[in-house]
């Protein structure tokens, strides 16, 4: 019989004990899997989110992150023209984010307004109707929630107002716009009522258009150009702006969510320890119980190496079986935990904390398999060192 076959048969002798051990290893493996997904998920998800439309560089007011404060960049159109002139830039566009209002029947609803340059936009995907054409000052794009709040669909007309004056009880500016399409704003949180117009229209609705302000500038690097080289040139060209590549922004996001990353390391480590303790304890007691059997095997000529391999095989079988159940359990719990964490207020709806990555999952599986197997080291040593004559004599009495 092979070592693995012997190990599996040995586990079958004590079904309750084995079942409990497998359950313990499965829960520990599930936790380990979840924590591995959490540790790498933030980075992967955020990076995917930022690269959703292929724009690799963001320019924001100095010392800020995109949409982190109400600070804005003046002279946006000139800055965009300058950026587009760089040979390494394929596309560049400005985005303004501001609070505006929409008229729905007799009341006003608060909306988040995006001012965009449709020819170079990296913040939405059209889901129904048509996109805005460059320079379309009469059109507007709505998110699903905004469309519901305003009771509008592509082809309808909506009224947007801005700069409300409580003393005059009136809006300083208002525009009637035709709904061109419904879009999914990539960085919106769940249920955010957002609308988008071309940049000059939103600048007028939100604040003084004379300053030509934008919240951030997006840059897509041309094929063949290095992102960091272009970012370095832009830093030199715009010393008063924060120039961040996706890698820089991922670092910032990780810094803010460092608690979850560290928690994942601690809990992942503890899960590994629990799995190792379970395998080690079970094998140690099993070996102690079977010392007589092991001594008999040794007495009839079975080598120490074979005994060690058999104990190792038992530990490996336990780990592999337990981890198999753990993967199923871990994927289910990851979905549940992700649903909790993604309910953070203000988090983009498409952001995910628990993201399976082949490399990290492979590494976790390897670590679990190796440590689970190594947990059998001490019991295997015990088994191989059992004194044959003394053990057989003790068994006979």
């Amino acid at each position: 019989m092979t070592g693995l076959g012997w190990g599996v048969k040995s586990l079958g002798r004590h079904p309750l004990r084995t079942a409990l051990s497998l359950a313990g290893i499965a829960v520990a493996s599930a936790m380990l899997l979840d924590m591995v997904m959490l540790s790498g998920g933030i980075e992967k998800s955020f990076s995917d989110l930022l690269l959703a439309r292929g724009y690799q560089i963001r320019l924001t007011p100095k010392g800020t992150l995109p949409f982190d404060t109400e600070a804005s960049i003046g002279g946006a159109s000139h800055a965009v023209r300058t950026i587009r002139a760089d040979s390494g830039v394929e596309a560049a566009g400005a985005v303004l984010g501001t609070s505006i209002y929409g008229r729905a029947h007799d009341s006003l609803v608060t909306l988040f307004g995006y001012g965009i340059q449709p020819e170079a936009q990296g913040i939405y995907q059209v889901t129904a109707g048509a996109d805005l054409a460059p320079g379309d000052t009469l059109g507007v794009l709505l998110s699903e929630t905004a469309a519901q709040l305003l009771g509008a669909a592509p082809g309808d007309t909506v009224t947007l107002v801005g700069r409300l004056d409580p003393q005059m009880a009136d809006a300083a500016v208002g525009r009637r716009l035709a709904v061109r399409g419904e879009v999914r704003w990539i960085y919106d949180y769940r249920g955010q009522p957002s609308v988008g117009t071309v940049l000059p229209v939103m600048q007028r609705l939100g604040r003084d258009a004379a300053e030509d302000r934008a919240s951030l500038l997006l840059v897509k690097v041309a094929d063949g150009a290095a992102v960091e080289d272009v970012a370095a040139r832009l830093r030199e060209r715009f010393p008063h702006l924060e120039v961040s590549s996706v890698a820089d922004l991922v670092v910032q996001a990780k810094r803010r969510l460092v608690y979850f990353t560290q928690l994942s390391y601690v809990l992942g480590g503890m899960s590994l320890i629990v799995a190792v303790l379970l395998v080690g304890t079970l094998l140690t007691i099993t070996v102690n119980e079977r010392l007589g059997e092991i001594a008999t095997l040794r007495a009839i000529g079975v080598s120490r190496g074979t005994i060690v391999r058999q104990v190792f095989a038992e530990g490996t079988a336990l780990t592999v079986l337990g981890a198999g159940f753990g993967i199923v359990l871990g994927l289910a719990t990851a979905e549940y935990l992700d649903a909790i964490l993604t309910s953070f207020p203000g988090l983009p709806a498409s952001f995910s904390f628990f993201v399976p990555r082949a490399d990290t999952l492979g590494l976790a599986a390897l670590v679990l398999l190796v440590t689970g197997s190594l947990a059998g080291l001490y019991p295997a040593w015990l088994a191989s060192r059992a004194p044959i004559a003394a053990t057989l004599r003790a068994e006979a009495t």
Binding site: L20, G24, V27, M31, K62, T69, V258, L277, N288
Partner: protein
């Protein structure tokens, strides 16, 4: 009146004498990062390329620990409202007002009265704002609870397994006791008692480890985030809950294993069945 204009302020040290009326209070982290002290002069502006205002550091303050801000690490300064409005070029504008009510007036009714005539603003009772702004912590709390449930399940299975193995180690002892006439009930009771003792000792050790881990967690994160916030708080209620739970699980596991043991024939326990 409260002003919370959340625009970025650019701030650099200056050498020119400031306008005598412009004072600024800076938090300790700003003072440390920019090597500023009381009496130093700084330039202020709404954008790095434009810093036209001079101000004198009149105070350095320690901000109240705020969990909502701990990971953002924003650097803050305080100015009198007219000074800030002048720096931002937004005279007579504020983000919000704080309203103190007369005794007997409820916040809900006052907010309702204000909202009836509101245009361009909305009144919220402080409790509503507190509830909304604590959503982040409610989510974190739910996450912690979910993790705790998984940990408890893992611990329960681990405890069951260990207890089962521990009791099964006593097969020969149980066999001998049965041979000499000790009743099954006595053996069962002895094994359950042993399981309970192990659970209590394990719980005490676990509580000690938890206190150490909590102290290490607090020390690490306080240093990491430069704050006085408490990150790990082990209350008597939590200790009591943990000890009771582990005792319950330990006794249940011991009882299950002991029940299986006393139902087995003595010769089988002796290994001669």
């Amino acid at each position: 009146m409260i002003s919370a204009l959340c625009l970025t302020l650019a701030l650099v040290q200056a050498t020119e004498p400031p306008h005598p009326s412009t004072g600024i209070a800076i938090e300790r982290a700003v003072a440390e990062q920019l090597d500023l002290g009381v009496g130093d002069t700084v330039r202020l502006g709404a954008a790095p390329e434009s810093l036209p205002h001079l101000a004198v550091v009149s105070a350095i303050y320690e901000p109240r620990p705020d969990p909502a801000e701990v990971s953002r690490r924003s650097l803050r300064v305080r100015l009198h409202l007219p000074d800030l409005a002048a720096v931002l070029g937004a005279p007579d504008r504020v983000d919000r007002f704080g309203v103190g009510l007369l005794p007997g007036v409820t916040p809900d009714s006052a907010a309702a009265v204000l909202n009836r005539s509101a245009f361009g603003f909305r009144a919220h009772p402080s409790a509503t704002i507190a509830s909304e702004s604590s959503q982040t912590f409610k989510v974190v709390s739910r996450f912690h609870r979910a993790i705790a449930v998984i940990t408890i399940v893992a611990s329960a299975v681990f405890l069951l397994c260990i207890m089962l193995l521990k009791v099964e180690e006593r097969r020969l002892d149980a066999a001998v006791m049965r041979f000499v006439g000790v009743r099954r009930r006595t053996i069962f009771g002895a094994l359950v008692l042993e399981a309970a003792l192990i659970a209590v000792l394990g719980s005490a050790l676990g509580a000690g480890l938890a206190f150490l881990a909590g102290a290490a967690t607090n020390a690490y994160y306080r240093e990491f985030f430069d704050t006085e916030l408490i990150f790990s708080l082990i209350t008597p209620r939590i200790v009591l809950f943990s000890v009771c739970l582990s005792l319950l699980l330990g006794v249940a596991a011991g009882a299950l294993a002991a029940w299986r043991l006393v139902r087995t024939r003595p010769m089988a326990l002796w290994g001669r069945a």
